[in-house]
Amino acid sequence: MTISERRATTVFDRSNLTIMDIVDLTDPTPTNYGPEDFFFFYDIIFATDQTQLNFSTTAQYLLLTTVASFIDLTTLSDAQATTTKLQQLLATPILVFNNAQWDPTTTTNMGKSMGLAIPSYRVRRGGSMLANLGVGYRFIHPLFIHRGGFFVFRLVCRDFTIYLFCAHS
């Protein structure tokens, strides 16, 4: 497992707050987490004392039995599923045990701006051989318009792109 910090712009679905898109990711910065950072929380959430009265009703004991059953591996074909459970075990502290969750007023260097936006799609030109016929830094896009006669060739400049119209009129 490798953990990197990156800044990003995230697009959420406004209706259900699911992540739709992540854009403008910055270069990764390595984190300096060590095993002790994780074990600190595992020690707390899996702390089960059999001598404690009613230990079997504590949240820690119930979580322990749940996680144990998750990673209960009886056949090698379950390996991938068990791998996923371990990945979840490692990823959860990162999401849960931080100031943003527990004490958001003490965080620093966080995001400060949000926006509401209308999602749409832009059709991007492909990289076909014809479309990549370049004149200098400009691309030529042959567009063929058929009107039932003969072809008319036109060059139209738009932005930094040259469109070659071959109109059949």
Partner: protein, 206 residues
């Protein structure tokens, strides 16, 4: 006929390589107190009432679906690994955890009804990548592992730094060791060696 064939051929040629890019036209911007994910921090446990139970409940709530719930993570291009077993996720922080700016007017469902997206600008997050342990497998000893549980149910978690990464594994000691394995590796060639580490690690449990 020539033009018909030419038109079909050109249509296929020109339209076969079109892609769609999502765009988001912002209609309203506003400031927030905090957005994004802050670093893992052990000091949050300090002087907090009933932290043990709260932390356990929080962990439990997210644990079983953290990597599939798209409110938490999104798959992104890996930075350090390749291949089918290389998994890379980005956690931008949950939208529900954004701290609002009290000076901003509230936005209700009736405002900007055509704006279906909520954009969190330039906020910190964490990219987590998982990949199989590469050979040769680094030595893992008892000191890298913790055993949690009681006499009849327990789990062992092993975790150690390896360069800028972690190597990790779990074990359910209640079963025979032969049917248990290192969780980060599904390659049988790795399994046998990792089982030996687990046996070593589990010596303290028996």
């Amino acid at each position: 006929m020539f033009f018909v064939i030419l038109r079909i051929a050109l249509s296929v040629l020109l339209l076969s390589d079109i892609s769609f890019q999502s765009t988001y036209d912002e209609v309203y911007q506003f400031s927030v107190g905090n957005a994004g994910l802050s670093p893992l921090n052990t000091t949050i446990a300090t002087n907090r009432f009933n932290f043990d139970s709260l932390a356990t409940a929080q962990f439990w709530w997210f644990y079983s679906s953290i990597l599939t719930d798209t409110q938490n993570v999104k798959s992104v291009q890996p930075l350090n690994c390749t291949g089918e077993l290389c998994k890379s996720y980005f956690m931008p922080g949950m939208a529900a955890a954004i701290l609002p700016d009290a000076s901003e007017p509230p936005i209700t469902a009736e405002n900007f009804t055509n704006a279906l997206s909520l954009i969190q600008h330039d906020a910190p997050g964490y990219q987590v990548e998982f990949s199989p342990i590469q050979l040769p497998i680094p030595t893992m000893t008892l000191s890298d592992c913790r055993l949690y549980g009681i006499s009849y149910v327990a789990i062992q978690i092993c975790l150690r730094n390896q360069g800028s990464s972690f190597i990790a594994g779990t074990l359910f000691p209640f079963l025979s060791f032969d049917s248990s394995m290192e969780c980060l590796s599904v390659k049988s060639v790795d399994t046998k060696q990792l089982l030996e580490y687990h046996r070593l690690a589990c010596g303290g449990f028996a």
